[in-house]
Symmetry: C2
Subunit: 403 residues, 2 copies
């Protein structure tokens, strides 16, 4: 949500419109083009140079149709042919989830491609960004995004994992590579980093430019079942390792949200990857990173397993404090990179005592002063959304496995 | 569409209901279970032991909500909480596309996973089949489904291709494998064989049982732009090779629907595959197969390129006649397998002069009598749908690359 957006909501509240149903009253710039993540040959949804999203759907017998994006619902208008059309306020650059609401039914827009977020496959839109070149598909050597099945003893089931191999992987059958375990956010799954995140395209471009060491990326589903009524951040964040039955030390309260995935990752997934892919299977060449919930999981799992991970990336998911460092034996010797990032709007709206713990910039500076390779990145003009995380991966990938 | 289904339509016409809006009046067996291709944790859609599909959607302000499956629309009923619910007539075993219609808007069901067919990403349902074991995900060694990008000179763009590598591929870095180019149908794309077709699961299971030679499968998008007003089968099928500007010899009329993909396949895709995957790059170890439009493309492209393909699979897409054989120089020496298949309901409803040409069984028998390894397969109780093609791939994979 950007400032214009907030202004419109505030104005709506003042003039008495319900805050969940907006009709966009401003002048709209008429330079709309189909979104880059539309289904083939679909003309809608469209985006204009202001970042407004225009949708259109045939629903001749409907009473009310709305565009639901950025937690705001915008009423569409019906033309004589039964087609509803309308647009949102300007959105931030990058990727956003959205839905259409038809007479109270929340459904995907038939015009867009679908992405898994908010615990559903739903519509997505791409607002062109000034820096979109770093995740643009180009005629450079391409790696592969490989869909794999493997058996997990922890869950007693065949599980699904996407693995990115760099462009040169099959050309160098004797060479081994560092490996990054990369996690999505709450309500997302193992498809998020490839689809919304464009992780493989970002890596192909960085490797072609010689900016990143070629490495393998493993993307699994770290979603766990939350108890009903669970709200992230309902308790103040604690510090330290992910130890079962130590409620107050866990940022998610009594529910230990990282423990199940920690067992899958360490007992099942890492052995599978290490016996089926040419990774360098040591602590020095193993990284973990994640966004939001995946960042919190990264923090907890790496702090508990410093014998296994030397490189840590936390994107919009908290930070590591000196208290964490002091309670994790050998941290200074073992950890070669701590990377912490947020979208600028997240920092503007940050509440002390919120789900992401202490001041991330202050924590990062304290680690740096203690001689730890600690990096802080702020994504300009973005919120808790994928554009922040694409940029975070891009920055992290340049730094990782170079110490 | 099965017989019960047809009966209901006929009954509806007799008693004057519109044939596009059915209310299911029969007694429904109450043993519904969530479909196996639902989104995670979604309770609807459901399927019962008769093969009826029950959907449910919250749409409190809607006037009319329908389930649209098998070219029939079934009215749902609204309960007091604003939830609409209802079911279809029994469907054939296997996979079917469907949509929900809300006050005239055709949208995907928010409960199902989405599949690309009918030129859109839409809902799919899985009716449990008596033979579903052959495409069930099991704890056997798994191959990989690899998403690749490559540059096509023909289209001057980066294109997308899925490539299945068998389970042992990465364990035998010196071994080379036969390769099958496998095509989807009209309105589908390169994701069809992996998602709806379960091609990788079928292959993993066959290889684990020792029934198929391990081979690589290449799945690209062979959709071409059809001119407006185009109807497949509007002209009688001709014979012979795919030669530009020979309208009557092409089953699609004047429009040469295979020529563009032939260039992509032979000039761009095959060289990419042969320099990036360990295939045996000769005619003996190269197959092409496809379903419906993909089967017609297979027929035309292989007949024109017998120096490149020795194994041919045509699933619900026509057959090869002795006239074809006689007009393709060297056919008898070069072709090691011709496999032709249909769903049983397609043969029951077959019109002479339809889009798939002459009698496929008679054509197959004639080839066999001429000493060609020619196989005919009929999928029991299925129509022009994915269950026919899963079974066809299963049968074809057992036979291919063994001569």
């Amino acid at each position: 949500m950007n400032l214009k957006h907030i202004t419109i909501i505030v104005a709506a509240i003042i003039i008495g419109l319900p805050s969940t149903a907006q009709t966009n009253q401003s002048v709209v710039v008429e330079d709309f083009k189909p979104s880059s993540v539309n289904q083939p040959d679909k003309q809608f949804p469209q985006v204009n140079s202001e970042g407004r999203v225009r949708v259109s759907i045939l629903a001749p017998q409907a009473n009310r149709v709305q565009l639901d994006i950025g937690a705001v619902k915008y009423d569409l208008k019906k033309d004589t042919g039964g087609i509803w059309i309308g647009e949102s306020a300007p959105q931030d650059e990058g990727f956003h989830y959205y839905q259409i609401n038809i007479d109270g039914a929340s459904v995907p827009d038939p015009g867009s491609l679908y992405f898994y977020g908010a615990s559903r496959w739903g519509s997505g839109i791409e607002i062109p960004a000034k820096d979109q070149d770093f995740y643009a598909l180009k005629n450079v050597p391409h790696g592969q995004l490989r869909e794999n099945q493997y058996f997990s003893k922890t869950t007693n089931s065949v599980r699904h994992v996407y693995i990115y191999t760099p462009p040169e992987y099959d050309k160098n059958p004797a060479k081994r590579y560092p490996v990054l375990y990369l996690q999505h956010g709450m309500g997302e799954n193992e498809t998020g980093w490839g689809n919304q995140g464009r992780a493989n395209v970002i890596m192909d471009n960085l490797i072609a430019e010689g900016k990143a060491v070629p490495f393998i990326i493993v993307m699994e589903n770290s979603s766990v079942k939350f108890p009903s009524g669970f709200r992230p951040g309902a308790r103040p964040q604690g510090q330290g390792a992910n130890t079962p039955d130590k409620g107050p030390r866990n940022p998610m309260g009594n529910f230990n949200f990282a423990a199940q995935f920690e067992r899958i990752l360490i007992d099942d997934l890492m052995p599978y990857v290490e016996s089926n892919f040419r990774v360098i299977a040591d602590q020095q060449h193993r990284a973990m990173a994640g966004l939001s919930m995946g960042g919190m999981q990264t923090r907890l799992i790496t702090l508990s397993n410093l014998d296994k991970f030397s490189q840590i990336g936390i994107f919009s998911g908290g930070s590591i404090s000196m208290e964490d460092v002091n309670s994790a034996p050998g941290f200074k010797e073992k950890v070669k990179l701590v990377f912490v990032s947020f979208g600028s709007r997240e920092l503007e709206n940050r509440r002390p005592g919120g789900p992401f713990g202490g001041d991330p910039k202050a924590n990062t500076d304290a680690l740096k002063e203690a001689g730890i390779n600690s990096q802080f990145y702020v994504s300009p003009q973005t919120a808790h959304e994928w554009q922040s995380w694409r940029r975070s991966l891009h920055e992290f990938a340049i730094l990782v496995f170079k110490n």
